[in-house]
Symmetry: C2
């Protein structure tokens, strides 16, 4: 068995609900096809690896039950980092240290699950390996709730975040419509440069609920005056207005709306006010009615209890495909989804050159946004809806979800 | 059949996930035992009734499927109001108008599902009926995420909100522990005068996660200096500190911590800063590490997708008990839960005089709070844990929960 060698896996960047599903997929692919002897996990990504923080995953996940629990656990079992590898020439001995570690541990493949910055790590390591004749394959597996990676149809983690956003918007609508008084509710959703997740709020609309009535994305510039006109126009038709805004909306000059507050609190600290809160204050001054803002906050990226089954199934599948790819000797590739059809919804996985992906950002096509810049087209709905289908049956203990023990991250 | 007469039901106060379950319970009790001919629903509570806004519920909910969907729908199918009935002597013709309506529609029982203020309506209507020889029974059914009604062991709606809070806190812990950098996370939870829901955050603790490390309730006065000491003490032991605070924490003089910010934003509007945000700003100035605050906001009272099965089952049961009670000719009573045992967890329902309940508030026993005022005892855990047990299998359509059509509330 010795000849198969070993591999190492890491996770990096911001959390999603599906990163552990991809990790579980890699482990399942390796187990099913007996691809490597040992699977190492780097704790806190490449930064932790540089400090020698490594786990033996082959020991920890041997049963399907354990792998399923990993699939259903939010955020990162292996922990994360926000570390960008320096360029080779400015790096001291970092690259040598890493590849010495790989050699010492007979590591043949390096898997990295992450978003934009993490794919930069994949690119740099694979470039170094090629330039220095190192027999280590480097494979990237995408993840991000922002859905902003190019070439792949969508990213693992996005569908579950989208399902959380759509479900929460519907529940906020039920919470809003009960009172016979006019009100405006602003819901702020994550996504600084790409509006995919805010766009997913459109999936909350039902035959009886038009919420969100207005949707504002960072892809088009935001005008406070036009916003006030939009809200007044809806208010003329309906008692309650519900609005989805991206945290990243910017004015004509490209300045974040959220940064326009220069407030200081009683203790003299600068108040950092989100886009939602800023617009709440604007509307309170403009309209004579109840206005509130709601920040969905970190739960949109960590609420495994309302994960999309489609998302988690696909994340496992892309992990398995990555395992095979690495073992086949491919390198400098990221796994991608290709959409075959919407009805029935079908995807395939394929691998693409990491150089074309790293440090690139995919935003919503402008043709999917209406002319007024406050809503989306049916094309957007057709793209988004399949990604939130299906529910996941979690195990619960003592009334809360039974997730993986992560005490190794905060011991 | 004419002799059975009719009844009317209303909902009032703030939303919970279980108010429609109690409505469904009343309807099921009436159907199963053939207690009334017609069931009217007041739209927007007593305020809507005074404007003649009434639905015929007997027509709308005839199948078990329809009743189950109602059980699983958040907030209020019938809409709500925040209307406090004036005292009889200052009321003009309000009471006469209401009882004329009851007589004209052969209404024998008035059911009202609500919290503190709604029980005041039950008290006033039953007093008027008694004083004026009106044959209308008035029955109250409790609900509130605040769990602050006296005499009943707990209130419908609380268990589901508690399950949401505990699950979210655990997911926030997973989101927090992934980075190898020190951080403080403050989670603000609803409950202005009673800390029950904030206390439920303790149910998030697992063998691997101590979050929340600190819990602050409105029952004990809050000192910013002591808070900073507490956080520093935990920080000396652990990388990440996660804190649960009630929105209603107050200083020694009884002033809300959330009100101490006198900030004004760039537009000149006063910034209303919650307790969590206020403490975030305090810690940012005190500690040299990442600090963030998260407001759970309205989802804690409207997230049916993570309802407690125990809560919804009990809410249906208390609704059924109310239906029987009204038909038996009882009046001026509120239904209550009595806890028989914790292991196995068992409750009974009973009815109690509304006069002893209306306008009273039940807070957490001080003996359940530790001496330092930043944690709870095992007695609190034993009380809370049974209330969040069990998960509800919702129906989904297009990837989002399939709730009742509420277009009659915002048409």
């Amino acid at each position: 068995m010795k000849h198969k060698g070993n591999c190492i896996i890491g996770q990096s960047g911001g959390p999603t609900v599906a990163i552990n599903a991809s990790l579980s997929g890699v482990l399942q692919g390796i187990l099913e096809n007996d691809l490597y002897n040992k699977v190492y996990g780097m704790v806190n990504g490449i930064e932790g690896l540089l400090q020698g923080k490594v786990l033996d995953l082959s020991d920890l996940f041997q049963t399907q039950d354990a792998l399923d629990q990993l699939t259903h656990t939010p955020a990162m079992y292996l922990g994360s980092c926000r570390f960008k590898l320096p360029n080779c020439e400015e790096s001291g001995t970092i690259y040598e240290d890493l590849f010495n570690f790989f050699e010492a541990h007979d590591i043949r493949t390096f898997f990295y699950i992450g978003g934009n910055d993490s794919m930069d790590t994949v690119l740099k390591l694979s470039n170094y390996a090629k330039a220095n004749g190192k027999a280590v394959n480097v494979i990237g597996i995408p993840k991000t709730i922002d859905n902003d990676l190019p070439l792949t149809d969508h990213t693992p983690g996005f569908g579950s975040a989208a399902k959380y956003v759509a479900t929460s918007l519907l529940e906020i609508a039920h919470d809003t419509y009960i009172y016979d008084i006019p009100s405006v509710t602003i819901v702020e959703i994550m996504g600084r440069n790409a509006g995919w997740l805010t766009a997913a709020s459109i999936l909350a609309r039902t035959s009886y609920s038009p919420a969100p009535d207005l949707i504002y994305l960072p892809e088009v510039s935001f005008s406070v005056e036009r916003f006030i006109e939009d809200v007044k126009a809806i208010k003329a038709q309906r008692k309650n207005v519900i609005i989805a805004v991206s945290e990243g909306i910017k004015d004509e000059e490209g300045r974040y709306i959220s940064a326009s507050s220069g407030a200081v609190d009683a203790f003299g600290h600068k108040q950092l006010c989100g886009a939602g809160k800023t617009l709440e204050n604007v509307l309170k001054a403009e309209l004579g009615c109840k206005v509130r803002s709601i920040e969905l906050n970190v739960l949109q990226r960590s609420a495994s209890h309302i994960a999309s089954k489609t998302d988690l199934d696909e994340a496992v599948r892309i992990g398995k495909a990555a395992a095979t790819l690495g073992a086949q000797g491919e390198t400098a590739k990221m796994l991608c989804y290709k959409r075959i059809s919407n009805a029935p919804y079908q995807i395939e996985t394929f691998a693409y050159d990491i150089a074309a992906i790293a440090n690139q950002e995919k935003t919503i096509p402008l043709s999917w946004i209406n002319e007024r810049g406050n809503d989306l087209t049916d094309e957007a709905i057709d793209y988004l809806r399949p990604l939130i289908q299906g529910e996941v049956l979690l195990s619960y203990a003592n009334g809360i979800p039974s997730y993986c023990d992560i005490s190794h991250l905060h011991g």
